[in-house]
C-alpha cells in the first residue's frame, strides 16, 4: 500500500491502482483504492487528472493552494474543509509538472438520484442548477425542492464559503450553476468544487485564467468583450466573485422558468424580502466597488 509523508506533492506512480469514476471536459477522476493520506487515513480521496491536452501545468501554483490549507486557523479549518473541495496534494508527472491533484471525495449527501423520463435512475452531483428549477420538475424527477427557509440557509452557507475564501485573499473565479453543490439534509449547506481553479489574490490562477461561465458574466466582462478586450474579459477578482454571489442568491431564491439566465432582481422584487432585494441591487450593479462583501451577505442571512 502506498503511503506518503507530509510533502504537498506525490508522484503518480506512487498512487497504486487508479479506477476511473468520472470524466469531464478538462480532467478525469479516479478512485485510489491503494492510497491514503497519512494525516487522515480514513478520509476518502480521489485523483483528478488533468487531460493531456491541457498539460503541462506548472506544479508551483497548485502547491501553493495545497499549502494554503495547512495555514488556515484551526477554528476555521473544519468549516473550510466541509464547504470547499480543496486540493490536498499535487500529483506530479514524470517531468515534474503537475498531472493533477488529490481531492477529498465528494460526500454522498451532495449527490441526487434523478428519475429520468425513461425511468432510469441516474446519480448526479447536486449542482445548484437544480435549485433554479420549479417544483414540478423536482417532483417529476424525485429530487428535493427546498422551501424558502432552506433556501435562505443555503444562501447563508454559500456566503460563508465566500467569506472564508476572501478572508484568505483567494478569488474563487468561475462561480456557476455547475460548481456549487448543495445538500438539504442533515441541514442545508453548499460545497464549492473545482477549487483547483481558484486564484490567490495578487497572483495567477494555477490552471490559467478560467473563463466566466455564460450567464454568470459580470457587466465589466460583457463590456470588455464588446470592445474585443479578451484580457479584460477574463479578469476575475473579489468584485466579480461578489457579483456572482449575488446572482447565485437571486437564482436560489427565485426558482422557475428563466431563472438560470436572469440577472435582474426587479423581476422577482415582489417575492424577495426588501433588505435582500436591496443587497441584490447593489451586488448586480455595474459598479464593482459598490457590491456588498460576502461578509455583508452572511450577516444578513444570520440576522
Amino acid at each position: 500500500m502506498a503511503v506518503i509523508g507530509f510533502d504537498s506533492t506525490v508522484r503518480e506512480c506512487d498512487l497504486g491502482r487508479m479506477v476511473e469514476i468520472a470524466s469531464g471536459g478538462m480532467a478525469r477522476v479516479f478512485s485510489l483504492p491503494d492510497f491514503f493520506l497519512p494525516e487522515s487515513p480514513g478520509r476518502p480521496i480521489v485523483y483528478k487528472k488533468i487531460k493531456a491536452k491541457y498539460r503541462p501545468v506548472p506544479q508551483y501554483g497548485l502547491q501553493s493552494l495545497v499549502r494554503l490549507l495547512s495555514g488556515i486557523e484551526s477554528n476555521l479549518k473544519p468549516s473550510f474543509e466541509r464547504q470547499l473541495n480543496w486540493p490536498v496534494r499535487v500529483v506530479l508527472d514524470d517531468h515534474d509538472g503537475a498531472a493533477g491533484v488529490i481531492l477529498p471525495l465528494i460526500p454522498d449527501e451532495y449527490f441526487v438520484s434523478l428519475r429520468r423520463s425513461s425511468g432510469e435512475i441516474k446519480r448526479r452531483p447536486a449542482e445548484v442548477q437544480y435549485l433554479f428549477t420549479d417544483s414540478r420538475y423536482c417532483a417529476r424527477v424525485g429530487i428535493p425542492y427546498p422551501d424558502e427557509s432552506q433556501r435562505l440557509d443555503l444562501c447563508r452557507s454559500l456566503s460563508f464559503a465566500m467569506v472564508m475564501l476572501h478572508k484568505l485573499d483567494v478569488v474563487y473565479g468561475d462561480l456557476s450553476a455547475r460548481n456549487i453543490l448543495f445538500r438539504v439534509l442533515p441541514k442545508p449547506a453548499v460545497l464549492l468544487v473545482d477549487c483547483d481553479a481558484v486564484r490567490p489574490k495578487g497572483g495567477a490562477a494555477p490552471l490559467g485564467a478560467q473563463p466566466h461561465s455564460p450567464d454568470w458574466e459580470p457587466p465589466e466582462a460583457v463590456k470588455a468583450r464588446a470592445r474585443r478586450d479578451s484580457t479584460g474579459y477574463n479578469i476575475q477578482n473579489k468584485e466579480t466573485d461578489r457579483y456572482k454571489l449575488g446572482l447565485a442568491v437571486l437564482r436560489i431564491l427565485s426558482p422557475g422558468r428563466g431563472c438560470s439566465t436572469n440577472t435582474d432582481p426587479k423581476v422577482v422584487k415582489s417575492v424577495l424580502p426588501p433588505r435582500i432585494y436591496s443587497l441584490l441591487e447593489q451586488s448586480l450593479s455595474v459598479n464593482p466597488s459598490g457590491r456588498p462583501e460576502a461578509q455583508t451577505w452572511y450577516k444578513e442571512f444570520t440576522s
Binding site: G25, L114, R116, S117, S118, E120, K122, R124, Q129, Y130, F132, T133, Y137, V141, A177, S213, P214, D215, E217, V222, R225, A226, R257, G258, C259, S260, T261, N262, T263, D264, V267
Partner: protein
C-alpha cells in the same frame, strides 16, 4: 419572465424503408435507434434542467416528403408517452427534406421572435442511410436555398451518414464549412451503433452549445462537443 435567448435544434431523420432493413445483433433497426434518440435527449435534459431555459427541439422526418413529428418545443414539457414513434415510408428525397425544413425554420424563428425572445442560429442534425433519390441538381438547389446567406435563419448543418450513405455526398451538406463537419460511418460498421453515437454527439452539442451562449449579449453559439475521436466515423 425576462427575454430568453433560444437555441433551436432540429433532427432531420431519414425514414425511408431501408432504415428498417438492416438489423444489429440486438435485433434493433436503424429506425429503432432514431426513435430512441429523442428519448435519450430528453433524459439528458432531465440531468441538466437549466438547458430548458435556452434549448428548443424539433423532430422532422423525411422520405418522399417531409413531416414535422415534434414541433419546436421545450422537450422537458413533452410527456414521454407523447413522443412519436417514427414509421418507415417511401424513398429518400433530400430536396423535399431541405425545402420543408427551410419553411419550417423560417416559421419557427419568426414565431419565437414574435413571442419577444431572441433566437440563435438553429442547428440541424441530418441523418440518412442512403443516397438521395432525387436528381443531384434538385437537392443541391434546395440545400442552397436552405443555407442561402439571404436567409437570416440559415442553420448550421451537420450531416450524419450510416449504411449506404456516401461521404462524397454528405460532405457537400456541411454548413458552414470549417465550423461543422460530416460524420459518415465506416464501411462495415453497425448503423445502429453509429446512430447511438450520433445521439451522443447531439446531446453533447446541446449541452456544449447552451453552455457557450450568454444571455447577456448573445455571444457564443452552436458548437460540436469536444470529444475523443470515434474510430467508426470517417
Amino acid at each position: 419572465m425576462p427575454q430568453q435567448l433560444i437555441l433551436p435544434f432540429y433532427v432531420l431523420a431519414d425514414v425511408s424503408y431501408s432504415m428498417t432493413q438492416k438489423q444489429s445483433d440486438s435485433g434493433e433497426t436503424p429506425l429503432d435507434a432514431v426513435n430512441k434518440m429523442v428519448r435519450s435527449l430528453k433524459d439528458a435534459m432531465d440531468d441538466h434542467p437549466i438547458l430548458a431555459d435556452k434549448v428548443r427541439f424539433s423532430l422532422v422526418d423525411f422520405s418522399d416528403d417531409a413531416r414535422t413529428q415534434i414541433p419546436l418545443c421545450d422537450l422537458m414539457n413533452v410527456d414521454e408517452s407523447s413522443i412519436p414513434t417514427l414509421q418507415a415510408r417511401g424513398g429518400t428525397s433530400f430536396a423535399a427534406a431541405f425545402k420543408f425544413l427551410r419553411n419550417q425554420i423560417d416559421a419557427d424563428v419568426r414565431q419565437v421572435k414574435a413571442d419577444g425572445d431572441k433566437v440563435h442560429r438553429p442547428a440541424v442534425f441530418f441523418l440518412t442511410d442512403g443516397e438521395p433519390s432525387d436528381e443531384e441538381y434538385q437537392w443541391k438547389q434546395a440545400f442552397a436555398e436552405l443555407t442561402d446567406s439571404l436567409f437570416n435563419a440559415r442553420p448550421n448543418f451537420i450531416p450524419f451518414g450510416v449504411a449506404e450513405a456516401k461521404k462524397a455526398v454528405l460532405d457537400q451538406l456541411v454548413f458552414p464549412v470549417g465550423r461543422t463537419r460530416s460524420f459518415v460511418m465506416r464501411e462495415g460498421a453497425d448503423p445502429v451503433a453509429a446512430i447511438r453515437a450520433m445521439a451522443e454527439i447531439l446531446i453533447g452539442s446541446v449541452i456544449a452549445s447552451a453552455n457557450s451562449v450568454s444571455e447577456e449579449d448573445g455571444a457564443g453559439g452552436f458548437v460540436l462537443p469536444d470529444d475523443d475521436e470515434n474510430p467508426d466515423w470517417l
